[in-house]
Amino acid sequence: MKTLLEARGLNKQYRREDGSPLQALADVDLAIRRGEIYGLLGPNGAGKTTLISIISGLMAPDSGQVVIGGHDLNRDPLSARGLLGVVPQELALYEDLSARQNLRFFGRLCGLRGPELEQRVDETLEFVDLADRQRERASRFSGGMKRRLNIGIGLLHRPQLVYMDEPTVGVDPQSRRRILDSVLRLRADHGMTVLYTTHLMEEAQELSDRVGIIDHGRLIAEGTVGDLVLQAGEQDRLEIDLVESGRLDAALLQELERALSGAARVQSGGPIEQGRILVHASRGRQILSPLITALGAAGLEVRSVTVQEPNLETVFLQMTGHALRD
């Protein structure tokens, strides 16, 4: 697949209020292929919005180069930006214009005119589910509706490449679902390439063909969700709650490990009298039945078992030493 966006060696330093430097981006290389949905996952302050600002030409990097569809963003900014649609993290629309007027204005700026413009506006209103409220001013919209309009404006002109910067922040689960679905439809219906930033592991995991993990301005890992898990060497995690903790002790835990012939690591999940056992194994489901058998043999009754497969959250924890949400 061909590369649509290529960013090389991006650096950006801000000044803190006290004048000390803050490295918001450090040597970020990013390549996004045509037709893919790329999820950029990182906690608050990781540098996602800074990166988006730079690759949309709003902010000059201290160093580095951005090429979109073969056009250097610095040397040929208009051609490069012509391929772009940006959905900013913060709402960016005219509160005093109606939904339709907002779309029309930005559509015209992107060069759409006449019947084509009107048709795109209609389609977009349909797409973001605002057709019935299109004549109302944006200031009368709910937060979720504004977000949808905010998204619509970025998509109206059917750009080849769309940046969506945390589009689901502050919306209810229903609207969120709708937004996620619409991202998938963008590619399915129009073949758009999407760069999607989020601090939510589930979103990155659900949408992305590839995920980049960013923290403290560094892109620390990149790949499919499966790749990343493998890269981090993560194991499944089994959590077993016992009916009573009576006979549970360290010796018993070792006995269990032996019973599983070393395929798993068995620990107590918290103080021993809580009656919780944690098991880490690379193939969690396969050891489930021997594990329960062994527990029964030891006279322990199982109340519940949770199997947690490794996810980006645990990968992130593993790679950075801190949780995604803190």
């Binding site: 709003l58 902010m59 000059a60 208009l78 005219y94 404006i153």
Partner: protein
Amino acid sequence: MPAAAILIARKDLYLRFSNRASLLFLLALPLGLSLIITLVFGDLDGDGPAALKGIPLGVVNLDEGTAQQGRPINYGAGLLQLLTAAAPEAVAGAGAAACPYASAGGAVEPDLAMNELFSVQEVRDVAAGRDLVNSGELAALVIVPADFSTRLSPQIGPGVTILYPQAPASVEVYSDGSRALEGQVVSAVVAGYSERLLAGNIALGAAINGLIVQEPLAALRLAAASDDEAISAALACGFADLASGAVADVHQAGPVDDHALRQSTRVLAFVGMAQATFFALFAAQFGVLGVVEERRAGTLQRILTTSTTRSAFLAGKLLGTWVTALFQLLLLLIALSLFASLIEGRLFFLWSASLPALFAILLPLSLAVAGLGVVLVAFVQRVEQIGAIGALVNILLAMLGGAYGFTVPEPWSWLSLIYWGVEGMARLGAGDTAVGLNALVLTLQGLVLFGIGLWLFRRRVEV
């Protein structure tokens, strides 16, 4: 102008004029300001021109007189007599109505008798007279030069050649800048008199009779000597157009600065135009605040992620602000005119000497203030900063432009768009449409300011 700039300006204007709050602001500001100006400076209790009763006026008559065909003539004495005359039609005489030119210079035609309008005091010494004006005792001093009569008299040369007019007869009206209106009235009367001396106005009194006898004779001779169409036409009007300005040059002078604050026909007009210019500055800054608001709302950034350049964006803002400032200025001037009409009891428009000339000032003036606004927003990040920095810049410009009553040496005041605006409007107020230089300087200032603003705006790392 790129299409994007026009789109942005159109959007701004739509938002401004469709939003009730901002529309109210757009309308209320000029209307309120003109009402305040009227209340403060308009003469509400007096009923129009009658309020100008008894203007204390000094006359120094240095006229040595002349003789025409053996008859002694002293036009200076005639002027003095006119100013103290009891007949109301003394100035607006019968001859004036017949000729379109005849009233051109007489901006004020009072319904009052001259002796009601002026309280005339004859002064012997010019210096003493000036002192009386300076001390405020007199509103104005009319200085009739020694050669007044001589210069107003046609010199008939040998044969049929007529040497007419000579160098203009020069009457000085020395008045106090703070009594602009009264000085203006005096000037108008003197100008009217001088003109009518040559227009063959019969109503001017005994002292002029000699002229009336002479004038048709001279005219006939001239007609015989020349088939020049312009001169013939002039003759039809009894020399009126030759007279206006060319023959009798009534020039005003004053103890205060006599060029920056040219007298206008109305105090209201004078205060109004200075205020209008000053006001335009604020109007424009309000308009350009939109840039800061759009930055805060994120729409600026959004626009710049499309293929719209920063230049196009700023040009759009300039255009929208320009139109808004022009609209507000016009509104202010119309409102002031209406208020003034109410006071005068008849409908008339201030500064309406020439509509093209009015726009020749207003268009570049609004452009210049809009340009200034653009420089400001290119500098600052936040709305509050614009308020503070904007006020500072405005005060500085007002100071340079002489809006605070003291003047700054010439080349410095030229830097201020206020100077050019006020000066141009003052010309219009005085019926002078030669505002080309003002228009040119203001346009250049507007473009240069916009250029600087654009340069600053494009240099920003972050919008």
